[in-house]
Symmetry: C2
DNA sequence: TAAAAATCGAGAGCACCGCTCTTGACAAGC
DNA sequence: GCTTGTCAAGAGCGGTGCTCTCGATTTTTA
């Protein structure tokens, strides 16, 4: 019963899979706002209303795409980090940052879906928020490892007391790291995604041409900032 | 002729102005993708087709909104910077960064239009790219002034030779600043907008609660990074 | 094995969108 | 006063997300 699924169930998961794949392909060409259930149905040789048997609304399909996107990006970052020697913190930082940019350049519309402006009318459910931690976890581990090895020491004024709870929450991703380093890591992290977003969203047009080299320099700057 | 405009011309510029204002108000409530020419026309008591006498397409209306947005943000940053003593570089940096965040929080959808994912199907014309420099100019001036005063000195490896042209172009905004400082400034700049985008686009949900205090800390970190 | 229940695709339809084209009213300039 | 240019209005095209009904098919139950 549960092991050998009924034929209907099998074809259902197959069709669901196919819908998501087609939707992702359309996302890649038309962008998030251009994602059309009717177009997906057309490509599947279905009638538009039939899609609603599988996804009750366009937003639910979007949610699936977002979660799969976070996982794909997270996995890419994990792989890049794992390919480096554990003790080479700056190498891991560079590799992880490079993985973010590479993935973003390869899947620009998916990146926009994850880190760009929210799709109008779409309210992200809790599931997407949970899926988001995967890549951040890698960055946290790098910082934590570097700190444990004596690097990533931050001199500077103490963090405001009201930030203690936030720092504690962030520290779950980088155990043992003091508040000052936590916020410096956040600053570096936002620098990374800020730059990638700049590049993808056209902010570097007519400004920076040597994108790859400039990115490497920015990453090195941020890495040095982090004390790696 | 040119001085005392014809009644038709006067009512035309008035209506154009009204369309842009209503569009911006709708942008604020429905977001960029939710901007609808029909809805604008409805609110004006016009028929939808009449709008096309003033804006040949939805994209042209968007272009106007984007340019006005860049100018509004740029003006806010200019004002914040001008309110500080010229020699207080870290104060000016903090003020300018705060102006960006304040403006973004006050006009989230407009910020998304400027710095978020590009609107699907919309291709930004050159005019919008030109309008973009206004706030960046202020940041460049702060860095240049700080450097001239002996601050913002960067130690570190030389910038890759292939980045010379890009550095030169950026240096127009911060005269006299060496390559290393130029790219550090770019890193700080992307950290600022990265963080604001994180906050506005929901990336800090379930992560950072004390947004204002955390932002101040991030800005201080980036300012120290810049040597201000 | 036969009947009942659940599932599904198809189709029509609703209200909306951007955009185009035509038509008739009106004002500007000769 | 007449021509010319400008304008709002309206109908219409093809597209969207989404809902509802209907008939067919499959699964489950008796």
């Amino acid at each position: 019963m549960t092991a050998s699924r009924t034929a209907r169930e099998r074809v259902r998961t197959e069709l669901t899979r196919e819908i998501v794949d087609i939707a992702r392909r359309q996302l890649a060409t038309a962008g998030a706002g251009g994602l059309s259930l009717r177009a997906v149905a057309r490509e599947m040789g279905m009638v538009s209303s039939a899609i609603y048997r599988y996804f009750p609304s366009r937003d639910d399909l979007l949610t699936t795409l977002i979660i799969e996107g976070y996982n794909a990006l997270g996995e890419a970052v994990e792989r890049a980090d794992a390919a480096c020697p554990r003790g080479d913190h700056s190498g891991r930082w560079r590799a992880a940052c490079g993985a973010v940019r590479d993935w973003a350049l390869a899947h620009p519309h998916e990146y926009a879906l994850l880190y760009g402006s929210p799709v109008p009318g779409y309210h992200a459910p809790q599931e997407t928020i949970a899926a988001r931690v995967r890549d951040v976890t890698v960055f946290g581990r790098i910082v934590a490892d570097a700190h444990a090895a004596g690097a990533a020491a931050v001199r500077g004024p103490a963090v405001a007391p009201s930030l203690a709870a936030d720092a504690d929450r962030m520290r779950e991703l980088m155990p043992g790291v003091p508040d000052e380093t936590v916020f410096r890591a956040l600053a570096a992290w936002s620098g990374l995604f800020g730059w990638v977003s700049f590049e993808l969203f056209g902010q570097l047009e007519n400004a920076v041409d040597e994108r790859a080299t400039a990115f490497a320099r920015i990453v090195d700057e941020l890495g040095a900032f982090l004390g790696l």
